[in-house]
């Protein structure tokens, strides 16, 4: 009897241990990672992240149409006892700190820091005019603490105070500089030093910094042109991503051309992209999580197209396996491998190959997410006397009339070399370059003013300040604005005129429809991207209600145009048109 009881107990214990293992594994695997996002009753969003040791970060504020923080934002940190420790109140614009940031420490100390589109500027009152800044301490920690105080604040909230961070960066630099090497070897040497420091107590800050760098990289991706084009395509347009890229983000297409992607190849890729995107259930643009859906679908679709290629399916699987098994993935190694591979690719790229290129342009943003690396690298270039690109910012001052506007540029840092030229690049496309319209405005560091005139009323313009030194051309943040007078006529509002054009893209003719309130005269004008009038047609004495007019385009060459409809009462509406030849 005892033998039977023992045998029975043994098997009962085995079963119990199996049950215990299963439940323990399920319980541990149920823990969430990364962040949670929810919408508050007042329409603002709250994003919570939980870090190691139970520290949480909660960011609360409004977001713009592209899902980037916009307006007053509060960032709060709690320790694992749910006690509020650090708080930051700051204004954000396009996802970047812009204006005074008020940070409050656990000991009650309050610090005000001024930012201009994510760049710290040296101005107590955070006024527009500010001198070029220069960190007095050119060590890695000196640059880090000066340029990225918000990140130092975050590390402090997560248990790594300034003294600790300084000690870490100083140690890192002392090991780094124990060997002579050039800038091209910096990344490899930096990784080697991290491997050494991972065996020391500094491994904790290395791990946390790696995690935070990913979040920083994700923030940078929010402004990626393909992502913005996708959101625009499905939120404001008709789901034709190629047309949106062609109309608003043609400089992104130019950058793809430099990577071997032709316009026609990209158009074919976008057709496949839109086909898959349209297979998802529609999401209304005013859905609170529209942007989040778009982000998820974009990556799923890009991965789907990428994996459809035979070779890329294998690469994708091996990459996923490496991620799942928590192996370190070096973005720089991926970048090197990718660049060496595309240089040997033939023309007529497949959608899978183009998808890989698009994914690469998105994911390489992660490289810039490691701010400690950026600061140490900058200190290295200063120490070695290497000239790097200048740092520039762009600020919109305001519309001076319905056809003119004023913007300010500021060359914050010269990058170690003389700034031989500076100015404002602008146009009707996102991220304009010096190949678009340019105003040259002097040389050197400091602030300068750009007066843009002869703008087309009602049109959306984009502008970036730029500065050139021996390292190349650096651009500031892109600003978008509508050419309109300051009395507030909303030139972009189509609702009063119901102005539409079809077909778009067009070839030989278009039909425009609009509503007129009474028999007012209307003027239809077409402008090229430089604002030159290409065609103007008076639509005299139209009838009240819906009007239909045909416009012949046979004399107009192919390209991108802006169509403006203007009534006698200064009501205007604008549409962009693509003519294919």
């Amino acid at each position: 009897m005892k033998k039977v009881t023992f045998k029975k107990s043994f098997w009962q214990s085995v079963l119990s241990m199996i049950a215990l293992a299963v439940f323990a594994y399920v319980a541990i695997a149920s823990f969430g990672v990364a962040s949670q996002k929810r919408q508050l009753p007042d329409g603002r969003y709250e994003v919570s992240k939980q870090y190691a040791k139970g520290n949480t970060e909660t960011v609360t504020g409004n977001v713009d149409f592209n899902g980037r923080w916009d307006g007053p934002v509060t960032v709060e940190y709690q320790d694992n006892n749910y006690i509020l420790t650090h708080t930051e109140e700051v204004n954000m614009e396009d996802g970047y700190r812009h204006g005074i940031s008020k940070v409050t420490y656990p000991n009650g100390k309050v610090e005000n820091i001024c930012y201009r589109h994510g760049t710290r500027v040296d101005s107590e009152n955070c006024e527009k005019k500010s001198a070029a800044i220069d960190s007095e301490d050119n060590t890695g920690y000196g640059i880090f603490s000066y340029k990225y105080p918000w990140f130092a604040f975050k590390l402090d909230a997560l248990g790594f105070d300034d003294n600790y961070v300084k000690a870490y960066i100083d140690t890192l630099e002392s090991i780094l500089y124990s060997t002579e090497f050039g800038l091209e070897e910096f990344d490899d040497m930096y990784e080697n030093v991290l491997d050494i420091l991972e065996e020391t107590p500094y491994d904790s800050i290395i791990q946390v910094n790696a995690e935070l760098s990913i979040f920083n990289g994700l923030d940078l991706i929010l402004s990626h042109e393909f992502r913005l084009a996708t959101i625009h395509s499905y939120g404001k347009s008709d789901g034709n991503t190629y047309n949106v890229v062609k109309l608003i983000y043609p400089n992104y297409l130019l950058s793809l051309n430099e990577l071997g992607v032709t316009d026609s190849d990209f158009e074919g890729f976008c057709s496949e992209y839109d086909l898959i995107m349209s297979s998802f259930n529609p999401v209304a643009p005013d859905d609170p999580f529209f942007v989040d859906s778009m982000d998820q679908r974009m990556f799923i679709t890009l991965d789907s197209i990428y994996s459809s290629g035979e070779e890329s399916a294998k690469k994708s699987q091996s990459l996923k396996s490496a991620v799942l098994s928590n192996k370190d993935i070096s973005m720089r190694d991926l970048e090197q491998e990718f660049l060496s591979r595309i240089s040997s690719q033939s023309i007529n790229l497949t959608p899978s190959e183009i998808s890989e290129i698009v994914l690469f342009t998105i994911l390489e943003k992660f490289i810039f997410g490691d701010l400690i690396n950026s600061a140490v690298k900058e200190a290295f270039t200063i120490k070695k006397g290497i000239v790097v690109l200048p740092t520039v910012i762009t600020v919109f001052s305001g519309n001076t009339s319905s056809t003119s506007a004023v913007l300010d540029g500021n060359v914050i840092e010269d990058g170690g070399g003389e700034v031989t030229s500076r100015g404002m690049a602008w146009g009707t496309i996102y991220n304009p370059t010096t190949d678009n319209q340019v105003l040259l405005l002097g040389t050197g560091t400091g602030e300068f003013v750009a007066n843009l005139t002869e703008l087309t009323e009602g049109l959306t313009y984009y502008a970036r300040a730029f500065a050139i030194n021996s390292a190349g051309t650096a651009y500031g943040n892109v600003i978008s604005f509508i050419a309109q007078n300051t009395t507030g006529i909303n030139a972009g509002d189509l609702s009063t005129l119901d102005f539409s054009i079809y077909p778009n893209p067009a070839s030989d003719k278009i039909t425009i429809t609009f509503k007129a309130e009474d028999s007012e005269g209307m003027v239809f004008t077409m402008f090229d991207v430089n604002g030159k009038v290409i065609l103007q047609k008076e639509l005299a004495n139209r009838v009240t209600g819906e009007n239909i007019v045909n416009v012949d385009l046979s004399e107009i060459k192919g390209g991108l145009y802006v169509c403006q409809l203007k009534g006698d009462e200064t009501t205007i509406a604008v549409q962009t048109l693509l003519i294919n030849r």
């Binding site: 009881t5 107990s9 119990s16 439940f23 323990a24 823990f31 969430g32 990672v33």
Partner: protein
């Protein structure tokens, strides 16, 4: 009552408990998969078997329900379901046993269930300590005990063999 009938009756009863336990685990898992905005680590499993795309599509629909569901359903009920499931399994294995080991396993129920919450409180385990989780876990354990003890009390004579 003959022993073969007792044996079949017990076997049927324990099968029922296993099914109930499995359903509870599945229900808790579905709450995490469908309604939690955060992606649990076991999403990796879905990546391995290649159904992550389908999962994301389903979550797009289900996550819209997240905002109207009470917080205790989304964040605490799963803990209760899993506590109930584990309690049911352990009790169905050990109830009626004469071995002293059964007390160890009975004790493992509150230790495992509440221990996770304590470790989250101390920060040694990732997650958020929540009193609601404790409450729902206690409810799950209690219901598990009641379920087994009521059935066993009704059938007690049949278990004596």
């Amino acid at each position: 009552m003959d022993k073969s009938f007792n044996y079949r009756s017990n076997y049927f009863l324990k099968s029922i408990y296993i099914y109930m336990s499995s359903l509870a685990v599945l229900a808790g898992g579905l709450i995490y998969i469908l309604f939690r905005p955060t992606e649990p680590l076991f999403f990796n499993w879905f990546s391995v078997v290649g159904i992550e795309n389908w999962l994301y599509t389903v979550r797009e629909e289900s996550l819209s329900v997240y905002s109207i569901l009470p917080q205790w359903i989304v964040y605490s009920m799963a803990s209760g379901l899993w506590a109930f499931a584990y309690t049911l399994i352990v009790l169905s294995i050990w109830t009626g046993s004469k071995s002293i080991l059964k007390y160890f396993w009975f004790l493992s129920i509150p230790v495992l269930v509440f221990g996770f919450e304590v470790l989250q409180l101390t920060g040694d385990l990732q997650g958020t300590f929540c009193l609601n989780d404790i409450l729902w876990s206690a409810i799950g354990i209690t219901i598990g005990f009641i379920t087994v003890s009521v059935r066993y009390r009704q059938n007690l004579p049949r278990l004596k063999f």
